[in-house]
């Protein structure tokens, strides 16, 4: 094998599967943060999010991997927003949640 190894389809699918798993685990932190707020709607949305992220279909396509990376970035932004518990922070978190759900829907439509 040469110095540079080109990823085959199986490697790409595995890479995507790992990223999906990482994103699903990140939502656990969000669930804990949501528990600190009084907003039951937010708590419900986060628990649904965990489910939809866990069962994403991995793909060897580069653009799907890019989507999963964006989903991961949005989860991180949500984590930052949910550290604060005031009303403005909760509103911001809800907006980010909508963006995240849109990303997941777009991603699934491309498969």
């Amino acid at each position: 094998m040469g110095l540079f190894h080109r990823k085959n389809d199986a490697d790409k699918a595995l890479r995507d599967r790992e990223l999906i798993s990482e994103n699903a685990k990140s939502v656990d932190a969000l669930a804990i943060l949501a528990g600190q707020t009084d907003d039951s709607e937010l708590k419900d949305e986060i628990s649904k999010l965990k489910e939809s992220l866990t069962y994403l279909i991995p793909s060897e396509e580069g653009k799907i991997y890019d989507y999963d990376k964006k989903i991961g970035d949005r989860i991180d932004d949500l984590r930052i927003a949910m550290i604060k518990t005031d009303a403005d922070a909760v509103q911001k978190a809800k907006k980010l949640l909508v963006q995240l759900k849109l990303l997941i829907t777009d991603r699934n439509s491309k498969i």
Partner: protein, 196 residues
């Protein structure tokens, strides 16, 4: 770009996010602490006002001043943390920008536009297609005109013969007479009106 990556090239978004989360958590704890301290100060102030003993008043006063000093320190720390968080947010935005431009350039349309020669070739081809289509229409139009110009009117059908000419002369005469009669009757009517 050099062979070795700088610290910023190796920096991942996740690391920056973790750092921001940690600082935000600390800032939130300080903020909660400030609220608690303020409540304590307010309570002690009330107690101090209500207290009669001078020693106890002094005790409350010292405690309040100590809490105020702590509060001041916490405020300074919170301001420092806020500033730090702001810079890290900027760093996170830069990482996002970098990724955004990389991804946008990677898309197939971005690649197509980068090929200037290919683009010029395609545009010239499109122009050629358009010009050919227009030429087809203008040629057709010229053909129409050429055929129409070549046509000669059939004088036997559409032209004037002797008998037609005689009739036309008669029509013109009739028209003249009618016109004169109208003029005459019109002026006679006006005179009749004047007399009345």
């Amino acid at each position: 770009m050099g062979l070795f990556k700088s610290k910023y090239d190796k920096l991942s978004r996740e690391e920056v996010v973790d750092a921001i989360c940690k600082l935000e958590q600390e800032a939130q704890e300080i903020e909660d602490g400030l609220v608690t301290k303020q409540k304590q100060i307010d309570e002690l102030m009330e107690k101090g006002k209500a207290e009669r003993s001078k020693e106890v008043k002094l005790f409350y006063a010292k405690k309040i001043n100590s809490l105020k000093a702590d509060r001041e320190q916490s405020v300074q720390r919170a301001m420092y943390l806020m500033y730090n968080i702001r810079l890290l947010q900027k760093l996170k935005s830069s990482i996002d920008d970098n990724q955004f431009f990389k991804n946008t350039a990677k898309t197939s349309l971005g690649n197509l536009l980068a090929d200037q020669k290919g683009l010029a070739k395609f545009l010239n081809k499109t122009l050629g297609t358009r010009t050919s289509a227009e030429d087809v229409l203008t040629s057709a139009d010229e053909t129409f005109r050429a055929v129409e110009d070549a046509y000669e009117k059939n004088e036997s059908i559409y032209g004037m013969n002797e008998r037609d000419d005689e009739l036309l002369a008669m029509f013109e005469t009739e028209e003249q007479v009618d016109a004169e009669q109208e003029m005459f009757s019109g002026s006679a009517g006006k005179h009749a009106e004047k007399d009345e």
